[in-house]
């Protein structure tokens, strides 16, 4: 089993989706329990990664490789380093919570919903451990399908517009990646990412390939100015779709940057780092202001996701500046680690925020902030979690939200104090939009009679929120285990940044 641990992790949920589908609409409860079982099993198996992966050894481990398409030299090859392990664990953890979260919420074809969710989970795990570029590309595209289905079938009233926008936007981006990959293939005659990383490329080639990759991944992250699909997709997506989208799918974009841009086109990456840094800072400041005035809770949190992902891209690309211009490898490491921790943390925090909104939506069937007010009066325990996650969202120390932002801001000061100045602005604007939301939803007296009828969270919802809370707090109080898990992998990434290809 351990020889094929990664394959098992990919195929267990994908294959598990089949019996869930077969359980059919006539026995929805069976489908629910089956899918929960599959999700829990997947999570349990993923825990073996912690045993099988040796953080101190570094490098790619748990390698599997089979020839897939011989004529093209495409391999089904998987491997994981610390970053992959962390992301896979987060995926399987969130996987359980979205299944549990959808339990009786999804009444329409629950078996199909659960099956789509499980397939999505398996494909996402695949993205995080594919070491063949074409396999990565195939999975990268394949995750669109279950998400397309989730939003398209169980989505809100404008779901058609949202799904099309989502699909075309992201598909448009990945076409450029495909072209870049084909170009690389005709030079290297392989899709093996490690080989591509060693391929010498001129600056002109690197520039073209850099922008091709950038368009694909920037849309996925999403970065300003290609972020507008995200609020629309979130607004129309069912709660579980939003949770997976925010918690896991966005990380595919930044993960792609790590695996493709950093090793394959390092010189172009360094040359255009300022561009990404400026876009990241715009995401933090400008999007913060946009989030402030949203009237729809989901849109607000969606915009806040864009701002928080800005820290991930910022952390990755200040590492370029620090390595190449200040030769400050320690600070680069700090920035890069900050970006990684922020990816994991954002998974939990945004997942929790969207779950909270789902809890409210299930009771009131509205996402408009103005329809709420005084929820704490009827749902004090919900209020506890909501405040906790809101605080994590504005980066309060002791929660996971703080750790990554703290590291990135500290590192960016070393790159340039002005970058740190704009990045640290999140302290103010992040608190403003998050706590103003809390004020309007949670605090105050009840003005809407429907709020008075809202029921306190039930056992299932409590389980989901407690799980998210445990993750958010554990990471915030003691991030060292996560940092250690990823340490050698992040060091390798930073070392790669220093290698000039031209």
């Amino acid at each position: 089993m351990f020889n094929h641990l990664l394959s098992l992790l990919i195929w267990l949920p994908v294959a598990g989706a089949i019996p869930v589908l077969l359980a059919g609409s006539t026995r929805p409860d069976l489908a629910r329990w089956l899918s929960l079982l599959v999700a829990v099993l997947t999570f349990a198996v993923s825990l073996f990664l912690l045993v099988q992966y040796h953080p101190d050894a570094g490098g790619m481990q748990l390698t599997e490789s089979y020839l897939w398409i011989a004529s093209w030299g495409v391999h089904y090859s998987l491997a994981a380093d610390g970053i992959s392990v962390a992301l896979i664990l987060m995926t399987t953890f969130v996987g359980i919570l979205v299944i549990a979260g959808a339990w009786e919420v999804i009444q329409d074809k629950p078996h199909q919903y659960m099956a789509a969710m499980l397939m999505l989970e398996g494909l996402l795990i695949g993205v995080f451990c594919a070491t063949d570029a074409l396999l990565f590309y195939a999975l990268f595209e394949a995750i669109l399908i279950p998400m397309f289905i989730l939003i398209g079938i169980w989505g809100g009233p404008r779901r058609v517009y949202a799904t099309l926008k989502f699909f075309i936007y992201t598909f448009f981006g990945s076409v450029f990646m495909l072209i870049a990959l084909l170009y690389l293939y005709q030079k290297a005659h392989t899709f093996d990412i490690a080989t591509l990383a060693a391929l010498p490329l001129t600056m002109q080639e690197q520039t073209w390939i850099f922008f091709a990759f950038l368009i694909a991944f920037a849309i996925k992250v999403p970065m300003v100015p290609v972020h507008t699909w995200l609020p629309d997709a979130h607004v129309e997506a069912p709660t579980g779709g939003s949770v997976v989208l925010a918690a896991v799918m966005l990380k595919v974009g930044t993960y792609g940057m790590l695996r493709f841009i950093l090793p394959i086109v390092p010189d172009a990456g360094a040359h255009f780092a300022w561009l990404i840094i400026v876009l990241s800072l715009i995401a933090i400041v400008y999007i913060g202001y946009v989030a402030l005035v949203q009237e729809d809770m989901k849109k607000l949190v969606a915009y806040s996701s864009v701002a928080h992902m800005g820290f991930v891209t910022l952390g990755i690309f200040i590492a370029f500046l620090l390595v190449r211009e200040s030769s400050n490898a320690d600070m680069a490491l700090l920035g890069m680690q900050g970006a990684m921790v922020q990816m994991i943390s954002h998974g939990f925090v945004s997942g929790a925020m969207f779950t909270c909104i789902g809890v409210l939506y299930d009771r009131m069937h509205t996402r408009q902030i103005k329809d709420y007010g005084g929820v704490i009066n009827v749902m004090p325990w919900f209020g506890f979690f909501y405040v906790l996650f809101a605080m994590a969202n504005c980066g309060l120390p002791g929660t996971s939200g703080f750790v990554g932002e703290f590291m990135v801001i500290l590192a960016s000061f070393a790159a340039n104090p002005w970058i740190a100045l704009f990045a640290a602005f999140t302290l103010i604007i992040g608190a403003a939009y998050t706590l103003w939301l809390v004020k309007r939803v949670l605090w105050g007296d009840i003005t809407n009679p429907h709020v008075a009828e809202m029921k306190e969270i039930n056992g299932r919802e409590t389980f989901v929120l407690v799980s998210f809370a445990a993750a958010v707090l554990a990471l915030g109080i003691w991030p060292q285990p996560l940092v250690h898990l990823m340490d050698s992998s992040v060091s390798q990434l930073v070392q790669q940044l220093a290698i000039h290809k031209i």
Binding site: V293, P397, G398, F406, F413, L421, I428, G444, Q480, H484
Partner: protein
């Protein structure tokens, strides 16, 4: 004997355990159970804090500095959770735990009728834990943790009565204004890491002299002194937490919270965190006289101008709130003239007498059935003698009457500013001197309006409203100045803390002034450059606490206090009509004070409204108009239009296609001919 890790851990964690028990198991513990576990937790911490202080002062224990666990280790950077306990920390521990314990006990009486009783105990214990983490930290990361955690609890407690619109406005405002300070603070920490390569205090302070001569490039042609940048950034954090102008606006509004937390958080402990932090960072601040001048001017401005606002307040708690702002200004001034131990000394005495004043005000508020407007009080001294006497003790300490504890700390600050040659010291000297007069005016005015003179309320026999005491937070719908029963002294859980705070308010200065100010009691915890040592100069004229007090009787500050006493006594005891005449005579001045110099209003328009307007602009103009409508949907529409045109081409008529073919042929041939003739021409 050294300090053991387990003792320090117990100090920090005991309140946290109390908080968790009361918060999560309050349902099972009940009210008495909840207050018992939290009080027990804080009592344990308090006892151990005294033990630690004893060990460090008398027992000869060495400074404790150890990491507990590694928070992260990245490359050469280490962030840990750990404790640094020296005399500075020990003093803070004792002050925090002692005041916190008394506030816990007091809360039993004050919150007796409140539905959120257990939640309140949970919060104040959480606060105590957070404050311990802040003062015991041995590194910048944990400092920031404590810093933000106390901010969180402050947010929760200001908004404790979450149904009140004013309370939830105030707590959001408090959090955001504090975040502005934290913004600077975080940049300061980043600068420390960048220049000194560590987040650990001892290592950072040890290599602090290496900052001399280093600069930070701001723009191509501008270099700023590294130490100045670090210190000003860190101090911006202190300005938020310790409510210094221009970030002072949140503190008066924080009075929306229940009175016990006004005493604990917004007077005695949390707001002094900024003062503590700067004192802790003295090895860094000593490197930049520019930063210290900045500190000095900000502190002096706060000391005088916020005190002035206190004179026109009618809400008993708000008077004390402005007084707190002003006193924090005094502490900041002390920091600005490198008199760190003086600042911490004033912090300590202030913690006692200001907590006393707030709790006393709370006792009055209970007696008045949640009336806070002093215009409807008066003559309360005969109904509540313990509150009356203890509040006078606190007031005399506040106005710095010789022999009272506040005298020793405040007079020393005024003297030290007079001795200082730092840029801004003249301005500061004027401010703190004038501030002494202002302090006395608002304090005596408050005491007279509350306890003396005629009763300005009437007692009307109860007609069936006796049962409406249910909630503390439903006040406001009763008629002002109408009471249903005579005010009476508060129960012992309320008066006991008053008495226990009155004792140190009276005595602590007298007994500790010599070692703390002039005896170098803090040792290596505080570092002062020989050139800046104003306290050393003052120490040459110090001949004991008695002599200092006797000298104080003939000093200018005390003269101003006496003057204020005479004026306020005349105005408020003998001729109340004068107050209105003065108000009318000084209309513009009164108006400026009444509107708090219009600062809050301007902030609201510029930052709150302005921020929302900017957000709308970005959203509608940027995201919607430019990106979505033009770029995204615009390109979609373009494709639509192209497709529509293309579709029209496929008309299905044979002659259309034939025509197109002929046209194509002509073009091809024509092109061929043109190219060829061109070539032929060469």
């Amino acid at each position: 004997m050294g300090l053991s890790t387990s003792i320090l851990l117990t100090i920090a964690l005991a309140p946290l355990v109390g908080c968790l028990l009361a918060g999560f198991l309050g349902r099972f513990l009940g009210r008495a159970g909840s207050h018992s576990v939290t009080i027990l937790g804080v009592a344990v911490s308090c006892a151990l804090s005294f033990y630690v202080l004893y060990q460090l002062t008398v027992g000869g224990a060495a400074t404790y500095n150890q990491n507990i666990y590694t928070w992260f280790q990245i490359g050469h950077f280490n962030a840990s959770v750990g404790f640094l306990v020296d005399r500075l920390t020990a003093m803070m521990l004792v002050v925090v735990s002692f005041v916190s314990l008394l506030v816990h006990v007091y809360t039993i009486g004050y919150m007796a009728d409140d539905d959120g009783y257990k939640r309140f105990f949970s919060y104040i214990s959480l606060f105590t834990f957070s404050m311990f983490m802040l003062v015991m930290s041995n590194n910048f990361m944990q400092l920031f943790f404590g810093w933000e955690a106390v901010g969180l609890v402050s947010y929760l407690l200001i908004g404790f009565w979450y149904k009140r619109p004013t309370a939830i406005f105030a707590n959001l405002k408090a959090f955001l204004v504090n975040r502005v300070g934290d913004f600077g603070f975080l940049l300061g920490i980043a600068a420390v890491l960048y220049f000194l390569g560590t987040l650990d205090y001892a290592t950072a302070f040890g290599s602090a002299p290496s900052l001399i001569g280093k600069t930070l490039q701001i723009t191509a042609g501008t270099q700023w002194d590294a130490a100045t940048v670090i210190c000003i950034c860190l101090f911006i954090g202190a300005m938020g937490k310790s409510a210094q102008v221009p970030l002072h606006v949140w503190l008066p509004d924080s009075m929306e919270g229940p009175t016990p937390i006004s005493a604990l958080i917004h007077a005695a402990t949390m707001v002094t965190a900024g003062i503590f932090m700067v004192a802790r960072m003295s090895p860094l601040f000593e490197l930049s006289s520019t930063a210290l001048s900045f500190v000095l001017v900000i502190g002096a401005t706060t000391a005088l101008f916020t005190g002035l606002i206190g004179i026109v307040q009618n809400d008993i708690k708000r008077v004390i709130a402005y007084s707190t702002l002003s006193q924090l200004g005094y502490m900041t001034v002390a920091l600005g003239v490198s008199m760190y131990s003086g600042a911490v000394f004033h912090l300590m005495t202030h913690a006692f007498f200001k907590a006393l004043l707030f709790l006393g005000a709370g006792s009055v508020i209970i007696a008045m059935h949640h009336e806070q407007d002093m215009r409807y009080m008066g003559g309360l001294r005969k109904y509540m003698p313990i509150t009356w006497i203890t509040m006078w003790i606190g007031s005399l300490a506040l106005v710095a009457v010789p022999f009272f504890s506040g005298f020793y700390s405040k007079d020393a600050i005024i003297e030290a500013v007079g001795e200082s040659h730092r840029w801004g010291a003249h301005y500061a000297y004027f401010c703190v001197m004038a501030g002494a007069f202002v302090t006395a005016v608002y304090t005596f005015r408050q005491m007279y309006l509350t306890f003396h003179g005629k009763e300005r309320f009437t007692v009307v026999a109860d007609h069936g409203h006796g049962h409406h005491v249910a909630h503390l937070d439903d006040h406001g719908h009763h008629e002002q100045g109408i009471m249903h029963e005579l005010p009476k002294e508060s129960p012992w859980v309320v008066t006991l803390p008053l008495v226990l705070l009155a004792i140190p308010s009276l005595l602590v200065g007298f007994f500790t002034v010599k070692p703390v100010l002039f005896g170098g009691w803090f040792g290596s915890a505080i570092h002062v450059d020989a050139a800046n040592d104003v306290l050393g100069e003052l120490g040459q004229h110090f001949h004991g606490a008695v002599a200092m007090a006797l000298d104080g009787l003939w000093s200018l500050p005390f003269g101003l206090v006496v003057l204020a006493f005479v004026i306020t006594s005349y105005v408020y005891l003998f001729n109340p009509a004068v107050a209105d005449r003065i108000k009318n005579a000084l209309k513009p001045f009164y108006s400026a004070l009444y509107h708090k110099y219009w600062i809050d209003a301007v902030y609201y328009v510029v930052f709150a409204r302005g921020g929302v307007m900017l957000g709308h602009l970005f959203w509608k103009a940027g995201d919607t108009a430019v990106i979505d409508d033009t770029m995204v949907n615009g390109s979609v529409n373009l494709i639509h239009r192209i497709a529509a045109t293309m579709r029209r081409l496929q008309s299905g008529y044979l002659y259309h296609y034939a025509f197109a073919m002929i046209l194509g042929l002509i073009l091809l041939l024509g092109g061929y001919w043109l190219t060829n003739s061109g070539l032929a021409g060469q």
